[in-house]
Symmetry: C2
Subunit: 429 residues, 2 copies
């Protein structure tokens, strides 16, 4: 074993960073044995240097992250500060000064992954980011390496623990969105400002990263159709139950049936209770991957939290350190397929639509005609009347999102349709 | 991209090999783009050269596998013939003649993994074998790389599809073992001679491989305690149901609580219906991995079959080819921890024991005394009487297998105990 240590600079020492530092210290011998050389924490960049950080030598603490990544003797920079800047500049500076990078920064990778990969490649360095998607669950490496000889057609998953906690709570207790969110906040599963989670931004970033790797195509955050889950109601869950379904916020990356384009989207959807994703509870994550040769694979585990995320960071750290010792780099960006990313209108799926309609003869015929005119085939209709008002629940066969959108627009114009109570996609069948 | 192709020799062209050859041809462009150089099928060693093999140039077919691996221009040998010999000699010969090796051979790796790894290392070559455990499910790579910075404490899984199909059938239809086996055979899930599957040899080989990687310790097939599932009865399933459990054939690799030793075992066990492994149906496989930092992860998918196994082989092929191009090798054997493998008697778990006893006063007291004398604490006892005969169902708290064995031996000597109807471990709680 090499005795000269590999030097690691840690950018950020919050929930994840402090756990990375802790494990690097407590498991130093194991890490050295697995890497083939000791690893040494050479510096820790933080915003608040006065905070007491147990187990970390105060001499390592600095507020000057830029100087740390420019030192020139750093082998690996571990970036766990998150956000776009200064993380982006620090990472590219690290590459320019000879370091490889392990990052957990999903937002940055979803927005600027291509540029970061290019910077890594230009400098002959590694960029690893298993922790950016679904915490400890190995997903990036299986997609990038284990399935490198296969053709992935679909990635379907629960990749945000906060929203899964909220939806699970609504499902199991009948609570409304706000009540469930309040509980998630109280228990620390939701942040004070939950926007990134509940509006689907976090999941959309992960969808962009997963789609890019799965389809060997650049997919940016802007390419991902995103709908949050703040408008999911207790009534939606009641409708889902009648369908033998529950509701999950799903990230879905699909290759079109003709193979010539891909789509990526995040939205709440009904999935059958018999689908393995339906039983993913609390803040857990799970991702289905469907490929030509492998069939259906599922990966399940804790999608967030300091320890699980640190586990993913450290796995990458070991890999990157091994690469440094052998003088090689791991697989970089693979975007050779360069498939076009189609808009949401091209997505084909099934829909569950609740309409408030006038309770009089001929309404169903009128509504059915609108669906037919837009080429959307109806699977089932359920009609319920009460006091001159009635509701129609329509479940369609597979149709394009554009056709469904046109249908709904036309339905809204019917005198007999008082309102469209909800539209929800049905997935996983 | 390099234009000179990497040359692949395929040893075996059965269900898996023919699928590997097919994908190498149909997906040649994708593989080249992902590797950075084209891959060329340079030879296919078979036993029956006269068999028509669609899509494979007859000029590539040979019966002389030894000459093929000795050619000297082969970059990667893909070994999918299985069994100990000639596979072992062919693999070591391949290393000596400059090739890296991708193998799906669980039996050989479980028996001689250390020697094969040593041969690979001595020649500076790669030995990859994702396909040896749980078909397409990425398990070796996640354990060896994704969790390389974590401490794995437990691997618990269903790693044999044939036996899971049989047990699932017994559970869902109430069928006996023989009836369910007959159906599995008729449907092609069980081989004409099902011994390797139903007696747990196949699962034990996989347990040895998984334990070795998980604990950075050499674990051989002989170190794995193995019990088959041929004696599981419909009555056992009835008992399991009363417990809120089902029965699965599990491979269990554990680190002892003090961390100083490990165990590996394969046997049928009751697991709660609420455990995710309980709902693994048909011939699917699923493996739970528990680590210090990551918590519980689960990997699920098709555990066998030509296509899924080929997916795993091709993922390894891409990785090994990339390594050849970069002049590096991937992670080799990691056995530095060298923990002792403890015997089955040291395993601590819970037990479900059915006793046929005389239906008279004092029997329960007698039985309870025997348990107490052996230090095995009872959780619940259920007593059922019928016509002078009675049965006692005892569920214990956690106890060592040795203590339980001593208890059962003593119980058999009691006049009032007519027989021990079944003993089954209870896992996954």
């Amino acid at each position: 074993m090499r005795t000269r240590p590999l030097k690691v600079a840690l950018l950020g020492c919050g929930v994840v960073g402090s756990e990375v530092a802790r494990i690097m210290t407590t498991h130093a011998d194991d890490l050295a044995a697995r890497i083939g050389a000791p690893v040494e924490l050479a510096g820790v960049a933080v915003r608040r240097p006065s905070k007491v950080r147990e187990g970390i030598d105060p001499a390592l603490i600095t507020t000057d992250a830029t100087a740390l990544v420019k030192r020139g003797d750093i082998d690996v920079v571990v970036e766990v500060i998150g956000g776009i800047e200064p993380a982006r500049t620090l990472i590219t500076t690290a590459f320019e000064h000879g370091a490889s990078v392990v990052s957990a920064n999903k937002a940055l990778l979803a927005q600027d992954g291509a540029a970061l990969h290019a910077a890594a490649e230009a400098n002959g360095k590694d960029l690893y980011y298993e922790a950016a998607v679904a915490g400890a669950i190995p997903l990036i490496r299986p997609l990038r390496e284990s399935l490198a000889g296969d053709k992935v057609n679909r990635v379907l998953g629960i990749v945000n623990g906060t929203t899964n906690f909220i939806l699970d709570k609504m499902d199991s207790t009948g609570a409304g969105y706000q009540e469930a969110l309040d509980e998630a906040t109280a228990l620390g599963y939701a942040e004070a400002d939950p926007t990134a989670d509940v509006e689907g931004f976090d999941a959309a970033a992960k969808a962009a990263i997963l789609a890019g790797i799965a389809f060997h195509t650049r997919v940016r955050l802007d390419d991902v159709h995103r709908e949050g889950m703040t408008e999911v109601t207790a009534a939606d869950f009641a409708s889902a139950k009648e369908m033998g379904c529950t509701i999950k916020l799903l990230a879905i990356c699909e290759r079109a049936e003709d193979g010539a384009s891909v789509t990526a989207r995040v939205h709440p959807a009904m999935i059958p209770l018999t689908h393995p994703l339906a039983s993913v509870r609390g803040a857990y994550n799970a991702v289905f991957v469907e490929s030509d040769a492998s069939g259906q694979l599922m990966f399940y585990g804790p999608g967030a939290g300091g320890s699980p995320t640190a586990s993913a960071v450290l796995g990458d750290l070991v890999a990157v350190c091994r690469n440094r010792l052998s003088g090689a780099t791991g697989p970089g960006e693979s975007a050779y397929a360069a498939l076009p990313v189609s808009p949401m209108g091209d997505v084909v799926t099934r829909y569950h639509i609740s309409l408030d309609v006038a309770d009089k003869p001929g309404v169903l015929a009128q509504v059915a005609t609108v669906f037919a005119e837009h080429g959307v085939s109806i699977d089932t209709v359920r009609q319920q009347g009460k006091d001159g008002e009635a509701s129609l629940v329509v479940v369609t066969h597979r149709a394009s999102d554009a056709a469904l959108g046109g249908t709904v627009e036309a339905l809204r114009k019917l005198d007999t349709v008082r309102g469209v109570a909800s539209i929800m996609r049905v997935e996983g069948e």
